[in-house]
């Protein structure tokens, strides 16, 4: 967060409500951040904290009939929320691409790998036939798949999980996007393959000067690959800082709990975060004060009645947190 230059993506007070019969469900509630070219922002939070909802809001693939979005998503200066659907379709897949959590469900089971790659090439670059095929082969090679020509004719079920995620990354990178949103790209994979995939993403990102939003529920994953981190709880960002500052000096009890509960390498893969006691709040009727209050050891009356706002802890204004009683940390005065 040091070098200047205009932001590639600037999200301002973004809110996404799912329409449910019980009323609006605030999956994303007043989120703001900005991201520059070549930078990686980590988004961390428990299951259900609204990470995927945020990702899907930004790329604009939520149903307009079932959700309401307000706020501003400025991408290269244009507000994506005011763009027409056809204009938005031109941006999706070309300028902003996405990798999903589980490659088994994010690749179409009845379409050949080749078709799933070339249809993006045809849609955005007008590449067809031989040109499209050779570009697809190139892409598969660049994500480290062996025998790329043969893969084009295979179906997803004929590949291993790690290989499928590589295909999904190849699809996302097909048009050299300026922003890649990776929604828990390694959660469904084995630990050994996780690192390979993250390294691959990191390398491609550096090579293309691409910005990336890396979503995870595992702070440990995020640590090595991000410049900044936003911690989400119940649809809101509760702490946001450079990765360095966050790990050295975390202030929010929830972030601290997340850090304590980071999974061990000895855990079986797919182990979910269970360590924080209690359940996330009902997002249709969230608690009035601090949303983490009911589960927080430090909670007092003010926590239960008044909502802490996201504010800076230091003079530079780079480390933001929302908490009445931030945890004391070495080297900082609370």
């Amino acid at each position: 967060m040091t070098d200047a230059g205009p932001a590639l993506l600037e999200v301002n007070n973004l809110t996404t409500h799912f329409h449910t019969p019980r009323g609006p469900l605030r999956a994303v509630d007043g989120v703001s951040f900005s991201l520059r070219r070549g930078q990686t922002l980590g988004i961390v939070g428990e299951s259900g904290s609204g990470k995927s909802a945020l990702a899907r809001t930004i790329i604009g693939i939520l149903s307009k009939r079932r959700t309401t979005t307000t706020g501003r998503i400025a991408f290269e200066g244009r507000d994506l929320l005011t763009l027409s659907e056809p204009d938005m379709r031109d941006i999706r897949g070309r300028d902003i691409a996405m990798v999903f959590q589980d490659p088994t469900s994010s690749l179409n089971p009845v379409k050949r790998i080749g078709v799933q790659i070339t249809e993006v090439l045809a849609r955005h670059l007008g590449l067809r036939g031989c040109a499209a095929r050779s570009r697809a082969t190139e892409l598969l090679t660049s994500v480290g798949l062996s025998l790329p020509e043969e893969r084009l004719h295979q179906y997803p079920h004929q590949l291993s999980g790690g290989m499928r995620q590589r295909v999904a990354i190849a699809i996302a990178l097909a048009c050299d996007p300026k922003l890649l949103i990776a929604d828990e790209p390694t959660t469904s994979l084995d630990v050994t393959i996780q690192a390979q995939i993250l390294d691959l993403l990191h390398r491609r990102q550096k090579a293309h000067d691409m910005a990336m939003i890396l979503i995870s529920h595992d702070l440990g994953v995020v640590a090595g690959y991000t410049d900044a981190v936003a911690v989400m709880y119940a649809g809101q960002v509760v702490e946001q800082a450079s990765t360095r500052s966050l790990f050295r000096n975390c202030r929010m009890p929830y972030t601290a709990a997340l850090m304590r509960s980071a999974p061990n390498l000895s855990d079986p893969p797919h182990t979910r975060l269970r360590a924080i006691a209690g359940r996330p709040p009902d997002m249709v009727l969230p608690p009035p004060g601090c949303r983490f209050g009911p589960r927080c050891d430090h909670a007092t009356d003010i926590c239960r009645n008044e909502r802490p706002t996201l504010s800076a802890s230091d003079a530079v204004g780079a480390h933001l947190y929302a908490c009445w009683h931030p945890v004391a940390s070495p080297g900082a005065s609370a």
Binding site: R92, M98, F100, S106, N108, H157
Partner: protein
């Protein structure tokens, strides 16, 4: 891939033998005696014995089955007791009418069900969806013969757009042929599409929640492309299975509809044979229709494999 077909083929063989045996046994094991049924209850024992010998009824069951099966495979289903016409000849005579009727009605049913199912899944919960569901619910409760009579009353008798009864072979005059088949086929299609529509809509709604549809959206693809090129195929497995089983309902539909509209198809012939207790003809029709039904469902299994690459393994 190969082993999948081999297994299916083996299964087909077994099912065909079972169905053939069942058609044969149905006529043989039921209470009552064909000879008596033929000659009437006051026939002399000698006459009965003679007829039984003529029909080979005095031989052991297995021998008779093999004999019958051999004939069946050679296309010889015996002669009608009543008209003396070879059963196969009568069936081949009538079969094209019924096949055309069934193809038309099934095609028409799919032509209504697929676009409606796709659209309603896409707009699940909307006005259009609610309307289509209400129509489907109503039609699901309307038996095919009631629809047939209603259509005949409206379009043939009142509006006089289409003929009410009769038939013209396709080769003679394709237009008039289709005019005669339009209402019968529509009646069956109207009765059949709601169940096709319902399964497609339900599966499609499930498909549209899948991540690969989210990915397709994230690729910047348009809704029509996503619905028909990404979502339709993985949503049509149940539809294909159902439309195979649905043939059974279509056969029942053809039976009444052919009778109502006076089409010279196999259904009307079978009903007639049942009235006249023309056992050989009944048995022949049952065997041919059942075998056809089994073959169609075999074809459906193959289509299934084409649709879903995962099945082929």
């Amino acid at each position: 891939m190969m082993s999948y077909f081999l297994r299916k083929l083996l299964r087909l063989g077994v099912v065909l033998l079972v169905v053939a045996a069942a058609s044969f046994l149905l006529m043989t094991l039921l209470p009552g005696d064909v000879a008596l049924a033929l000659l009437g209850n006051d026939a002399t024992p000698e006459a009965v014995a003679q007829v039984r010998a003529e029909l080979g009824l005095d031989q052991p069951l297995l021998l008779r089955y093999l004999h019958w099966l051999g004939g069946f495979l050679r296309g010889d289903l015996g002669r009608s007791y009543i008209t003396q016409v070879p059963v196969m000849e009568s069936i081949l005579d009538r079969l094209p009418v019924t096949i055309e009727l069934m193809l038309l009605s099934q095609g028409l049913a799919l032509l209504i069900a697929v676009p409606a199912g796709v659209l309603c899944a896409y707009k699940a919960g909307s006005r259009i969806d609610q309307f289509a569901n209400a129509v489907a619910l109503l039609l699901l409760a309307a038996p095919v013969f009631i629809l047939a009579i209603l259509l005949m009353f409206l379009f043939a008798l009142k509006l006089r757009w289409l003929p009410s009864t009769g038939y013209v072979p396709f080769m003679t005059d394709p237009v008039r042929n289709l005019a005669h088949l339009a209402l019968p086929a529509l009646a069956i299609a109207l009765a059949e599409w709601p169940s096709l529509f319902a399964v497609l809509r339900a599966d499609m709604i499930r498909t549209l929640q899948q991540d690969y549809i989210a990915l397709a959206k994230a690729k910047g693809l348009g809704p029509a492309f996503i619905l028909f090129r990404h979502a339709l195929r993985p949503s049509s497995f149940t539809l294909v299975t159902i439309s195979g089983l649905q043939i059974a309902a279509t056969i029942a539909g053809a039976l009444v509809v052919e009778t109502i509209f006076g089409l010279p198809g196999i259904g009307r012939m079978l009903t007639g044979a049942v009235y006249n207790r023309d056992m050989m003809l009944v048995q022949g029709c049952v065997a041919v229709i059942s075998v056809g039904y089994v073959l169609i469902n075999f074809g459906v299994d193959l289509i299934y494999a084409l649709l879903d690459p995962r099945v082929r393994q």
